[in-house]
């Protein structure tokens, strides 16, 4: 080719080579809903009640309601206070949200009567710092927490167990897994449960699968909760997903009827991604999802764009909208597992900035899936953070004195729990007559980073074993019995304590997790009491001492050594 490009500066070349330029960005197109939260095509707020029924919602008469409007009007909005609350000027409500003198409960008394467009109108007034300020108060549980992913590119149960153990030790309150080969699910779910309990008794686990199998594993007590129950903001996309608000509400009750904690999943961008945003902004549609979840009576929601993060991430103000959607979930009193769980950017700087609106104020689960395995092993298609980022995360917590739910753990402790998790799973597999785990595998697991560091397993035998788990009707009780009889008494006790919780139903309440002493901690007994400086959750005392530790900190007493 003889054609020459115009000469570019060396600086441009440097900038061109920056990872951020591998990300994709697009212009807004509000008519089609390709816009974060500021759109002239979103409806204006309005509500009218007649005979105890909402007959007009955001400019639409009941006869014109689509099924989202109907469900929200029938179930989500408090009819008694709707007209009064929606009449309050949006700016007043926005100010209540950030005013430390107004309690969380006082805000909830107003938000329970708001329409979707009204909520949008309120949060549109708030900049990202104000959103964070509000999140700090509106988060349902006082103590923030984090959730990890433990998966394996080879679906190796040994890896899932030891990385779950290390993750639990590092602080994740919940652990989630999923599969490459779905038939591996029973073995991997068992591994996650056992590994999690070795790392820290009381960790809750889940395995993301299609509804029937996920529910079955839950009912058998092999997993403890579920969250991959997706909902969408327009009727057409909801129907494309082969569900309706009523089918999902029914499913929510089905989980509760088996004593299993559950939350829905939604997020900005999914409707426009599927081409059916009906001309509404991403945040408006997400607010409809949030209120639908509220109306279904599910205790919580995983949101923050989730698997569509590339869409809000590419438009102006998109990450502000993502922060706002987390806030809206919290301000209507739902547990919020706030995203940061999908590969988001080629730029580390951008990955970190995207996290700040959740990390700084704290949310119920800052990540709804921090990859507790290297991203190459992450079967959720990669997370915003993975095992390589552990030390950075811990340092950021220490720098800013914020609690992101993790902590630095010394190598010896890590190796100890990894080894124990592998041995516990080895003993349990032998006890249940599942394909053996060799001593070589235990050794490899203790010191491994990724799935490549493990001996290959006999996949055929594993799949037969997995099938036999289902056929033989193995339940959580069998796991407890196996662990107890093979000498892993403490792990067996932890698992039994988790199983006992489903009889009590305490984990069904909003934002519930289980502490290391097996106390259910939820929005009922750990109420967020933030009321300005010096109140609410503060990173102090023993926990702060814990977070001061890093891999390398020079000792003040003897600068020739490190503390740790």
């Amino acid at each position: 080719m003889t054609s020459t490009k115009p000469r570019t500066s060396t600086r441009t070349e440097v900038l061109e080579s920056r990872p951020v330029n591998l990300d994709g960005f697009v212009e807004e197109w509000p008519e089609k809903g390709l816009v974060a939260m500021e759109s002239d095509f979103d409806p204006a707020p309005s509500v009218r009640v007649e005979d105890g029924r909402i007959v007009e919602l955001d400019g639409k008469a009941r006869a014109d309601f689509d099924f989202m409007d109907t469900f929200i009007a029938n179930h989500a909005i408090d009819v008694a206070s709707a007209e009064e609350c929606t009449a309050i000027p949006s700016v007043d409500i926005a100010r209540m949200l950030i005013d430390p003198g107004v309690s969380r409960g006082q805000v909830l008394a107003v938000t329970r009567g708001l329409t979707p467009a009204k909520i949008l109108d309120v949060v549109k007034l708030m900049n990202v710092v104000e959103i964070m300020q509000a999140m700090q108060k509106m988060r349902a549980r006082r103590t923030p927490a984090n959730q990890g992913h433990s998966t394996s590119a080879r679906d190796n149960p040994v890896q899932v167990a030891v990385d779950a153990a290390e993750g639990a030790l590092r602080g994740f309150a919940e652990l989630e897994t999923t599969l490459g080969v779905v038939r591996y699910a029973p073995l991997v779910a068992i591994a996650l449960q056992v590994g999690g309990q070795v790392g820290r008794g009381g960790v809750l686990t889940q395995c993301a699968l299609e509804e029937a199998t996920e529910l079955e594993l839950g009912m058998r007590g092999i997993t403890a909760y579920a969250e991959t129950i997706s909902i969408y903001g327009t009727e057409s996309v909801f129907v494309d997903g082969d569900d309706t608000p009523w089918s999902k509400a029914f499913l929510a009750s089905a989980y509760a009827s088996r004593g299993i904690k559950m939350r829905f999943t939604s997020g900005t961008g999914s409707e426009v991604q599927m081409g059916n945003a009906e001309g509404k902004s991403m945040l408006y549609l997400e607010i409809r999802c949030i209120l639908m979840a509220k109306g279904a009576g599910v205790q919580g929601l995983q949101n923050g764009s989730i698997s569509c993060i590339g869409v809000p991430g590419a438009v102006p103000g998109g990450i502000r909208a993502v922060a706002a959607e987390n806030l809206v979930a919290s301000m209507v009193d739902l547990e919020c597992a706030s995203g940061n769980d999908q590969s988001f950017s080629h730029s580390s700087m951008r990955r970190t900035a995207r996290l700040m609106p959740q990390l700084l104020p704290g949310t119920d689960f800052v990540c709804s899936g921090y990859s507790a395995v290297p991203n190459a092993d992450n079967m959720f298609a990669g997370s915003n953070f993975d095992t390589e980022d552990y030390d950075d995360w811990n340092t950021i917590q220490r720098d800013l004195q914020v609690d992101g739910g993790l902590r630095h753990v010394r190598e010896a402790e890590v190796l100890q729990v990894r080894n124990k998790a592998a041995r516990a799973l080895q003993a349990l597999f032998a006890h249940l007559d599942l394909p053996p785990i060799t001593d070589d595998e235990v050794e490899a697991a203790t010191y491994a980073d990724s799935s490549n560091d493990y001996p290959l397993r006999d996949v055929l035998s594993d799949l037969k074993g997995a099938q036999s788990v289902m056929e033989r009707g193995i339940t959580g009780l069998d796991l407890v019995r196996g662990l107890e009889t093979t000498g892993f008494h403490d792990v067996a006790e932890s698992l039994l304590s988790v199983l006992r919780q489903r009889v009590s139903g305490d984990l069904l309440q909003t934002s519930a997790v289980l502490t290391a002493d097996f106390t259910p901690l939820s929005a009922i007994n750990d109420v967020n009491d933030y009321a300005g400086p010096g109140t609410g959750y503060r990173l102090a005392g023993e926990r702060w001492e814990e977070l001061k530790k890093l891999r390398h900190v020079t000792s003040a007493t003897n600068p020739e050594t490190e503390v740790g």
Binding site: D433, V459, L460, L463
Partner: protein, 631 residues
Amino acid sequence: MTTVDPGRSPARLVVGVDIGNSTTEACLASIGPDGSITYLATDLTRTTGVKGTPDNTAGALTAVRGALERAGRRVGEVHTVLLNEATPVISGLAMETITETIITESTMIGHNPATPGGEGLGVGTTVPVGALPEQAPGQPVVCVVPAGADFDDVAAAVNAAVRRGVDVVAAVLAGDDAVLVTNRLDRPIPVVDEVAAVERVPLGMLAAVEVAAPGRTIRTLSNSYGLATVFELDPAQTRQVSPVARALTGNRSAVVVRTPTGDVTDRRIPVGELVLRGAGKTLRVDVDAGAEAIMDTVARVQPLDDAHGEPGTHVGGMLAQVRDTMADVMDVAGQPDVPVSEIAIRDVLAVDTFVPAEVRGGLAGEVALENAVALAAMVRTSRSRMQLVADLVSEQLGAAAEIGGVEGEMAVGGALTTPGVDRPVAVLDLGGGSTDAALLTREGECTAVHVAGAGELVTKLIDSELALDDRETAESVKRFPLAKVESFFHVRHEDGTVQFSDQPLPPHVFARVVVLTPDGPAPVPTWHGLDHVRRVRREAKRRVFVVNALRALRQVAPGANLRALDFVVLLGGSALDFEIPDLIADALAPHGVVCGTGNVLGTEGPRNAVASGLVRAHAAVLAEGARCPAS
């Protein structure tokens, strides 16, 4: 337990328990003081751990409890649990490829692309397509096209050269473009494509390209005299190229390049010796001599005392590993170690097979079916840990537990409960790792043998011969019948019958050869047709089970004469296979033997023979009847 007093009780409750390689079976019966037996219930569960080791206890207890539950009886009522003397049998498998095809100097391309172009034979000098513009007219040329070239451009270049008078007679392409190029030529020529390493085709050499019409095979390059004609060879040279012709037989297309010393050779790979000791002799046989030679040697050292393979070979490694595994299994805390030297290989089965392997020196990933030998070996030990199992069972159930007899004898006893069977009777227990035979004579004498090779070897043969590289699929091919999905609404079974369905079949099986598993049709990932897959499956079963059936029965038959057998009863998991019993029955029919799948107690099919045999033997002792002496 207080209610049971063996001295006075009118009937005692006993449970026979058979711990096999893969399943543990129980047979619950009540025995009257006169030895009369009332069978109450049976149960079957997976064997826990390796047969003959303390790990078996859990499975044995599960089976006993299961049988009790079915009969509505309590654990406390059991008087005696009867266990078989289960000696651990461990089998190993290995495969050695013993031939190798090598092409030197890139003499030949014979990979049979799916869609060659044109038809006929072209002979000329190899020239790169890029050099066609400089090629002088007159001399015939074979055009060689590198990877990445566009089919439109190649066709244009050839057409241009031909218009200039260059005699382009054939082409060899890297890409899958042969039809595309030929369709665009003014004058059609034979074209062979998908030659991945086309850059290694020698240039400036005389080459012949031949493509046959669809559905036909080449005639000239697969014929030694055809090659001699094309390349003007003398008789000595013709003899030298005959392997090339042989290698190309059956192909639809081929390229042969004449180079100074190019050759195709079929080499035997030395893979070491097998040392067999028995009958006071020690014989050696080269593994690459093939299955027949190995099995002849094995026959000459019967009964086999031990076998070793040459260290550093697959066979040597496999035999050593089987021995080590057995040593590990016998290693139980509180029991004396069993030295490896005391663990002997007691049988070897060799089977000829073939493995598709990429040809060394090939330019297009040519695959040749290389010969291979598959070996199964079996190790037994006279020592067992069954006493430990018996002690544990006794402790857990609060009942007596005794070790009741040798498996083969018990199996025969159980087989006798099959309606229509009488002494003398032989049983064949078709398992996963070994095939066992036992004979009970009219006089009540019993002999039993175990031979190596059973269901697992069949799976391995299917896996390698179909190049599946997936044991799970191979296992399905072995276990279930085949069909071809002809549309979303019908399949054609392997017997030719057609079955329609109302619901559309899943897309991933469309147009594929499938195995009809209980969970629905599963595709067999192979380009072979249904008939080929079926032939491989049946041949694998024949070479293992039929060969072993005859071998094992000869070892127990009086005077090694199969005609001396009257009844042969098939038992074990593989007796439930949909065609193995027929294959064996067909093979035995010429010897006048009645052969069929057992139906133990008239209800259990080929299952539960040993467990119910234990009960029978126990009852016989109680009645002070004769007992089959140990062999």
